[in-house]
Symmetry: C2
Subunit: 174 residues, 2 copies
Amino acid sequence: MSVTDPCELPADRKRGSNFGWSLGMVLRRWHERVEELLKDLPHGSRGYHILAVVVHEEVPTQGALAARLAIDRSVLTYVIDDLANAGLIERRPDPQDRRARRVVATERGRQTLAEAERRVAHAEDHVLGGLPEEQRRVFRDLAARAAEAIHAAAPATDPCVAVQSVLPPADQAS
Amino acid sequence: MSVTDPCELPADRKRGSNFGWSLGMVLRRWHERVEELLKDLPHGSRGYHILAVVVHEEVPTQGALAARLAIDRSVLTYVIDDLANAGLIERRPDPQDRRARRVVATERGRQTLAEAERRVAHAEDHVLGGLPEEQRRVFRDLAARAAEAIHAAAPATDPCVAVQSVLPPADQAS
DNA sequence: CGAAGATAGGTTGTCTGACAAACGATAGGC
DNA sequence: GCCTATCGTTTGTCAGACAACCTATCTTCG
């Protein structure tokens, strides 16, 4: 497939149609808003995500939690510390394996999460204010499913694409 | 339109249904892939975005470019430096205003972008591999429109939400 | 004309968050 | 009882984001 006229990208590729940029834009705004909203939750959106998983899901250990959220274990350490200090979760020794810690939510944690989720949901609607109600729902749903799929196929890098220079070999530089 | 009962989140709010987390997940993977793909384009995805705008849109000055992409001017400086060194764009003095620089793409830049866009499009399909064809299209479209709307309403922080603690007042801590 | 303020671009320094590496404690296999 | 793997934690390094400052130029107005 020879290079079709590069300018021919049918106005679908033009303004705003850079997927990566768009995602970044939406995520940045989401982050701003949520961070603002949850500024007294120990680590803002980070703490929120962790708390959410702890409350909603049965996650055995800290390591599993890290895997579930696809974040580094070393981050978990201090976020959990602070969430525990705030009385939102507890870190209990696992009776089966004394290396592991089970992380469970306190009642206060559950309440806090409920409140946080309410606010975040509201903020999200605001962030997606540019889309009509129905499409917001669709967007969130698609994002969730795409993320789920990505997370499931974790390997991150498979060499299915041969990596060679994007730059033309200096043949007809302007 | 009052907020429908916030606690009613019906198992739609559960696993994977954290919008922010999902976006982050998708974006991270996008970034990994693209950065891999464009590793010899001066600043990877950054350079890609900038090059794309320079090629596809009529952007008067460097400052306008920064505004268009919602990035810091100080970033533009060195990215443009390197894109120019690679012969992909040129920084020309604006005859009307000698403070300003007009940034224009070279032919080589156009070719490179075309190739890059092809690869990125391919990578994006791969990243969204968890969604069927049609939904990928929808997702990209919604993302673009949401981002566009956000970018249009730039102010970033309007105090429409009263910010008070998410934490309950220590009444019934567990 | 010439001084004052505004604006374009560039430079520098600081700060945060991501990530790798190393460590102590414990579990499981031999 | 040793050896290796695993869990959680700590530490250090690095890149990217962002603010503050600087210079050159334009604009306005006396």
